[in-house]
Symmetry: C2
DNA sequence: TCCATGTATTCGTTTATGCGAATACGTCAT
DNA sequence: ATGACGTATTCGCATAAACGAATACATGGA
């Protein structure tokens, strides 16, 4: 049973994975890991229209990956589980390894 | 610099993340973690048409997440970095946490 | 209550992604 | 070379996501 059951996990699993499938959302998650922020702050930080940020936040919210807290008219978002950053960083490590191997096979001299 | 630069990492990062965005590919990765398999074996195990498996493998191959090795007319695929399974399992842990909280908020009595 | 600020949603369009079906390509044995 | 088996690719279609633009909704103060 190394391959988990589709019905109970894989389908929902894909729900989580999809949240990671957009660059903007990845940025948002990193930004929220730095510190909780409200929508406008995120929009300015990422140089992105506010509605776009709001829509991405809605995705993360629907999946339960972020929490909200009102602060007057503003809404402060925060990561609900910092392990998503662990996931992202692990992925970056994997990516680095892949890129290195790729460079090796191409006979590219190591830069950096 | 808690929010990594887009150009160098996030965009490529999304390349990795997208590989996780399909349920079939997740199954394939788990199946390959069990043991290297050839295309037909995967197709049978996952009860999926061979061309579909091949296309998903092409995605994983393009991203460098799997390696190939010929065995006669067959091609044996293997995970190129088992840490992808760590990523997936970590995501599952996160998912479980989210589901629990969700149940709590709904006042659902704990089953299991 | 009305306004200003901040946030969320809708609409229409564009782009990407996955699939079934058919087919092409590769490898090996005869 | 031909055929059988295994794998990869192409085509057309259907679905899903993301975006810009416009707009609706919510909150708090005058």
């Amino acid at each position: 049973m190394a391959v988990p059951q589709i019905e109970e996990l894989e389908l929902l699993h894909a729900r989580i994975c999809r949240a990671f499938g957009d660059t903007k959302r990845i940025q948002i998650m990193y930004a929220l890991h730095e510190e909780p922020r409200h929508v406008t702050a995120l929009a300015e930080l990422l140089d992105t229209p506010q509605p776009t940020i709001s829509r991405h936040l809605a995705v993360l919210r629907d999946r339960g990956l972020v929490t909200t807290q009102r602060d007057g008219a503003a809404v402060v978002y925060a990561l609900s589980d910092d392990r998503v950053i662990m996931v992202l960083n692990l992925m970056r490590q994997i990516l680095r390894g892949l890129l290195e191997r790729q460079s090796d096979h191409l006979g590219v001299s190591e830069s950096r």
